[in-house]
Symmetry: C2
């Protein structure tokens, strides 16, 4: 039998990793709930037609498609063969594959809202914490199966939603003790305004893609790439001048207001940014964390208003740990128009790597079993088992060593599993109706009576439980 | 745009359903942890070769296989075509599909243990709560995506493990208030003994399959099916006589002991059952819940010792809500022999249906947002937002209505979302620096000062929070 393996780009999560990941999930989940978001879960698979064409050509290619069952059923063989020929020309075909694994949480959410629009009460605030799958080339920090944690409000145009989402970003990242994080904010309308006043409408998409890379290629890189696209030099120059402006949030807004005289959309975008910045400062002590970044564009076509990106503290080279923004008509893709929305996402796998690098996981996050009961003989272990059940009823997680074994072997088991306490019942204890409880880390112990053992044990462990 | 749909046999879980499911998951998870099991998660996909052939022909057919990416890449086209021809003959081929969605949690766990055997400390106790996928024909209570909740111990032959797993079943089902549940237990060795003393070795597999159906077809049905298999009448008669015996757990054991004189394996199986039954009675007040059922066989080939099945209370027609048993050499499939194990599983989707049918979900399981702050004007809502943030800091989940709207509309929103409390700040309250907090269910309210609002509000809500 060949040595078994795990698919490329995918991971097993052992106990310690699951606990650390749950620490992150629970902070995000609790914060979503505090802000009134309700949980939603959608299946791992969607109809292929729900997903195709929603993420650009690249997305279509990176989607994991699920083979239909029963392809070799005699009544299907001919259809299957024709369908496969289609696939070989790069098309998809329902007779070969009619389902795919979900690629993000947003499109399945839009599909859910479109299917249930008549039943939901709007605004509908949902959060969703589930894995998604992409057949990307695996590399450091990029996996083929990873979790997204999304919160969206649909059915509301109010800027209060953007305010709450910005507050959620800062609240979660503060609770994770990620000092120095930043939440970058921009507005697609402001980007439109900039494009307009520079006369770059013709090259809009290309320019947005280039601008979005500013933090990687620098402002001179932006100039070069624009020139490579054969954009007229005076227009490039105008854009570079705008992007060379430096100032705080309100200064940036005022600078652009002076330029935007003719651009109605640009002006509307600035008003929104200003209101968000001011409200945020009123309600959040960490107001410096919210920063206007005019280079922020976010790739996805469906954004139409304010956009967000959360960044790890500067010393960590990992880039974005979350993003989001406002969209006007996501469910329109599924035949239900006029449901505006806004949402954010946390990238848990990257947040995990950052917390690991900065050593920010709490020390007690590893804690699994609290107490190991030693197994030192038949009668001894019967008593141990009985006392153990009392501790379990009291909510304390326990194990009994599975067989009679030498003291040392049982101690090593506790040590490897980081079990902090041991309960030891040997021949002598059995005779005297006593029990030794030992703090394995501090090497301190106490003798307790079997009578009232649970309360005695709880009192002994309390300082370290 | 066509109306969107969800793949057949798969489900969206809206907020209320997620909360009910989480109620079940958290009871199972907490109990697993109390017994010292540690969390493990494996990817949704496994290498196809890891899964193929492990679940019989039927399993191979029902597996969801994932299409390789880049099939139409010019350098792959020829290989893809050949691979597809293989698939059309019912074979699988790595050049078309090298991954599949996991079909259960046991084989991926065995793969994990085999891959990490050198790093794990044994006995290794893990639990795993994740979805699995099967392309079964959807029907009531059977889905194509469903959750399994497994706990296994590997690296130990001790019967203490069986005892703990039986205790976990009764503890979880009692906490779920499923009064009248039963945990059936049998032993593959005892079944071997019965087969031996009836001289049925030649028909062993067929007989086990027939016996396993006794609760559906009755003892006369067993007789008929065995005769249909052309099994000699005297042997059938001997078996039926054994299966007609009725008595309590220990009576059954004694009855079989008298028969099993020659069968070493059968005798060993009876000793194990007896020890489990006696120990269980010592440590569990609900000892009547554990019942020997000699018809229990469990389909999977890998079981070798004690086997379990959990059953819903008799009035619910749903059959098994969990099962498990001991296996001797699961990781042997992956080239790492001699790691014995034992495990159990809970079927959460069925447990959900049972709790729903018996109306056993706690009434507060629905609770999402606790407080809705009314939005009654620009200044009013600014004050409301500020006070709301104080409640959120205190851990109380809140929402503010997203825009200024009529009183009634906001009340209806709270009602539809089952939000129990409202905070109302109108013109008058703004002027007098007061706040109305209202219990929407009881139609009681109180006027609080804005100063010290959070503690006043908490005191008001305490009886119903």
């Amino acid at each position: 039998m060949a040595k078994p393996s795990i698919p490329q780009g995918m991971r097993d999560f052992g106990p310690e990793t699951v606990r650390k990941r749950n620490y992150i999930f629970s902070i995000i989940r609790n914060t979503f709930e505090l802000y009134g978001f309700q949980p939603l879960e959608t299946p791992a698979m969607e109809q292929l037609e729900t997903l195709m064409g929603k993420y650009g050509d690249e997305g279509d290619k990176l989607m994991f498609k699920v083979l239909n069952n029963g392809l070799n059923d005699p009544k299907n063989v001919e259809k299957s063969r024709i369908a496969f020929d289609q696939v070989l020309t790069g098309k998809s075909d329902k007779n070969l594959t009619e389902r795919a694994l979900k690629y993000d949480l947003t499109i399945p959410f839009a599909r859910y809202v479109a299917m249930n629009a008549g039943l939901l009460s709007f605004p509908f605030k949902r959060y969703q914490i589930q894995p998604v799958w992409r057949a990307d080339r695996p590399q450091k920090g990029r996996y083929r199966e990873f979790y997204q944690c999304d919160a969206d409000i649909v059915g509301s145009r109010s800027l209060l939603n953007e305010l709450e989402l910005a507050l959620i970003y800062t609240e979660v990242l503060s609770k994770l003790k990620l000092n120095g994080f930043r939440v970058l904010v921009n507005n697609r309308k402001v980007l439109k305004g900039i494009i307009e006043v520079c006369g770059l409408e013709e090259w809009e998409k290309k320019v947005l893609v280039i601008i979005d890379k500013t933090d990687k290629i620098g402002i001179e890189g932006v100039r070069t790439e624009m020139q490579n696209e054969a954009i007229p030099t005076d227009k490039v120059h105008r854009l570079i001048k705008i992007y060379s402006y430096d100032g705080d949030n309100l200064a940036k807004i005022n600078f652009l207001r002076d330029l935007f005289g003719e651009s109605v959309e640009g002006m509307a975008g600035l008003d929104e940014l200003e209101q968000l910045i001011l409200d945020f400062a009123t309600f959040n002590p960490e107001s410096a964390a919210l920063q206007i970044d005019l280079t922020l564009a976010r790739g996805l076509d469906y954004y139409t208003g304010i956009i967000f990106e959360a960044r790890a503290p500067g010393q960590v080279k990992i880039g974005s740990i979350g993003g989001g923004g406002r969209y006007d008509d996501l469910t329109g893709l599924f035949g239900v128009p006029d449901i505006p929305g806004v949402g954010i996402s946390f990238g848990v796998d990257r947040i995990y790597d950052v917390l690991e690098e900065l050593n920010l996981f709490p020390t007690d996050v590893h804690k699994g079993t609290n107490v190991l009961f030693y197994n030192l003989g038949k009668e001894e272990s019967r008593l141990a088992f009985r006392l153990m059940q009392n501790l379990r009823i009291a909510g304390i997680s326990c194990e009994i060593y599975h067989e009679e074994a030498k003291f040392d072997k049982q101690f090593k088991y506790a040590e490897r599993k980081k079990i902090p306490f041991a309960v030891i019942i040997g021949e002598q204890e059995l005779a005297s109706e006593t029990v030794i409880i030992r703090d394995l880390g501090r090497r301190e112990q106490e003798v307790l009576g079997t009578e009232g053992f649970a309360s005695g044990a709880k009192a002994f462990m309390a300082p370290r439980l």
